[in-house]
């Protein structure tokens, strides 16, 4: 197990390094920058600005400084467009918001999805099974950016029950729609995976043995079938995290929560490379870490897998 952890770390760390270097270089070969405007600045002014942001240094020096500041001080540097704010400020302001409803959506999708999948498999070919299956299919065609408008249309415009956007310190009315919009699609996928995995497990030999032994239905499902059922679900949690992360960009934008996604999109539109780079690296690193954790959880959960 320990060697496996070390080996996985040996992949994860270069991945993050590569992410930083590659996205940094990509930003810098891009034509145009945040200071290219229709009214060209006088060259002296431009030179001053470039010096202020360190853009007059050779590329390797810029890369090293950037890199060093992230690793040593967790400092992503100043924003190019919002003059008085640093990338860290922007992240510190927006990230907690995205994290709040993101983790709620992640939890909702996993718990409800797994529950629904298990119920569907146990009550195979009943209404709850059909419901889970149709949710699984519908979920594929209803990603977050379709769910968002549909929810607003129903709950805000027709029923007038929920506010159409905003955050208000994370009051529950403001949380409901972002969480539903973000989680529905993955809830469906998780339910589908859990259902088919549970059905397969329930048909396997060791469950037949347990039945023959005279164990109660409850004991079979909870003590024997649950653990192997959850294995494929666990390996799907990494991708779900990625979806929730990218989906949060949409939710921030559409529900105006003030989360990090809003800054991300506006930085992409205004070519604020510092913010774009910072958020990409932050999200990329988070993904690598979560993938690492799910892999470890999987290895710990499944006694058959020993690397």
């Amino acid at each position: 197990m320990l060697t496996y952890v070390i080996r996985r770390l040996l992949v994860a760390i270069p991945t993050i390094l590569l992410l930083v270097v590659a996205s940094f270089l990509m930003m810098h070969v891009a034509p145009g920058g945040p200071f290219t405007s229709e009214r060209p600045l006088p060259p002296e002014v431009l030179a001053n600005i470039n010096a202020q942001y360190g853009l007059d240094q050779p590329l390797w020096k810029q890369l090293w400084d950037y890199f060093y500041n992230i690793v040593a001080h967790f400092d992503f540097g100043p924003s190019f467009v919002q003059k008085d704010r640093s990338v860290n400020d922007i992240i510190a302001q927006g990230f907690p918001i995205s994290l709040t409803y993101g983790s709620l959506a992640f939890l909702a999708a996993s718990i409800v999805g797994v529950g629904l999948g298990i119920a569907a498999a146990i009550r195979h070919n009943t209404w709850i099974d059909y419901f889970a299956v149709s949710l699984g299919i519908a979920a594929q065609a209803l990603p977050n950016f379709i769910m968002g408008p549909i929810l607003i249309l129903t709950f805000t415009l027709w029923l007038g029950l929920l506010p159409g956007g905003g955050w208000n310190g994370g009051q529950w009315q403001y949380l409901i729609m972002p969480v539903i919009a973000l989680s529905t699609s993955y809830m469906g996928s998780i339910a589908r995976i859990t259902r088919s995995s549970m059905l397969e497990v329930l048909n396997s030999n060791f469950i037949r043995t347990a039945r023959a032994k005279g164990l109660s239905h409850k004991a079979i499902v909870w003590r024997h079938a649950l653990k192997p059922t959850l294995l494929p679900v666990i390996s799907y949690l990494g991708p779900v995290f990625v979806y929730v992360l990218t989906g949060s960009v949409f939710v921030d934008l559409y529900f105006s929560t003030g989360g990090l996604g809003q800054s991300y999109v506006s930085s992409a539109l205004t070519r604020d490379y510092a913010v774009l780079l910072g958020v990409t690296i932050l999200y990329g690193a988070l993904t690598v870490i979560v993938n690492l954790l799910t892999d470890l959880a999987y290895a710990w959960f499944d006694p058959k897998i020993r690397y």
């Binding site: 594929q140 990603p143 408008p149 949409f250 999109v265």
Partner: protein
């Protein structure tokens, strides 16, 4: 390894000879299974109708997708609703452009994105996976490590990054989609190649003196087709989804070109004013395409890979 003999050359010719008796091929079996799958066949019909509509539809359009209807743009809610008289079959968009033409153009974009993204994944991913799997060793570990590293990064963010850096037009869009879509395909193909490589018929081909290139093209690739088709077909809706997501954020293809994601975003932005058709028409096309694509993909999987049900 062996000396060149006539016997071996003959054997090699036999092994690569394809004019044997036609048996029940895997593909005819698969075709039969697919044709019997009602959901998949219905999806093929519906999708075919949409494709036909996208091809024939522009000939019936009274307005161009960039043209602005100046007489009606001031009162979109009152006069911009879908109607046959005005020639705006799907109504007007927020700026007074004909939604019928714009929806057709957007659907074309989305379908193209799906096809080209999947095709790029198919070419690059298969080549990468076959080479890594077939030659193995250090080459394999280096190539697969690259895939692992790239897979660990959220692809949508990479897509956005490429589009911001390289400009938002069709060519970069397709290249960017291709750049992110081939990774899982490469993994799947490599796994299959590894399994195939040790099978007896490959060993026989080697013993018969067939060259490595011929083994790859004549024996390995044909055996991969099933898996590759299934995965590519599932990739099509995924590509459409990814592109629509980015377009929704406003980071996709730039005006006057549009895509379904962008139209849905515009419709969603104006639904508070009562111009619901601006949301519903693109939404209908989008949802129909995605659902039919998934059913077709599922049908192909059931047909080509009957073990995995």
């Amino acid at each position: 390894m062996f000396g060149k003999s006539e016997k071996a050359a003959e054997l090699a010719a036999d092994i690569t000879d394809f004019k044997a008796v036609r048996g029940r091929s895997l593909f005819r079996d698969a075709m039969g299974r697919f044709l019997r799958n009602k959901a998949a066949m219905a999806s093929v019909v519906v999708l075919g109708l949409i494709v036909a509509f996208v091809i024939i539809g522009p000939h019936f359009a009274a307005w161009d997708n960039e043209e602005i209807d100046w007489t009606r743009m001031g009162d979109i809610l009152g006069q911009g609703a879908p109607s046959l008289e005005t020639g705006h079959f799907f109504g007007l968009d927020e700026l007074g452009r004909d939604l019928y033409s714009r929806t057709i153009q957007a659907t074309q974009t989305s379908l193209l994105v799906g096809l080209i993204g999947a095709a790029m994944a198919l070419l690059v991913g298969t080549a990468w996976g076959v080479i890594a799997g077939f030659y193995g060793g250090r080459l394999d570990s280096v190539m697969m490590r690259i895939v692992d590293i790239l897979l660990a990064i959220p692809l949508t963010l990479i897509l956005i990054l490429i589009l911001v850096v390289a400009g938002r037009n069709f060519v970069t869009l397709f290249i960017a989609l291709g750049a992110v879509s081939w990774l899982t395909m490469a993994r799947i193909v490599r796994g299959q190649t590894l399994a195939l490589k040790t099978r007896e018929f490959i060993e026989a081909a080697r013993a018969g003196g067939v060259s490595e290139g011929a083994i790859i093209f004549r024996h390995i690739l044909p055996n991969l087709i099933g898996v590759v088709i299934v995965y590519a077909s599932l990739l099509v809706p995924e590509m459409i989804l990814a592109e629509s997501f980015i377009s929704f954020l406003g980071l996709g293809i730039s005006e006057p070109m549009t895509s379904l994601g962008r139209l849905i975003a515009e419709g969603a932005g104006t639904m508070g004013y009562g111009t619901l058709w601006q949301l519903l028409f693109p939404l209908f096309f989008y949802v129909t395409i995605i659902i039919t694509m998934f059913f077709i993909g599922d049908g192909l999987r059931d047909a080509l890979d009957p073990k995995d049900r």
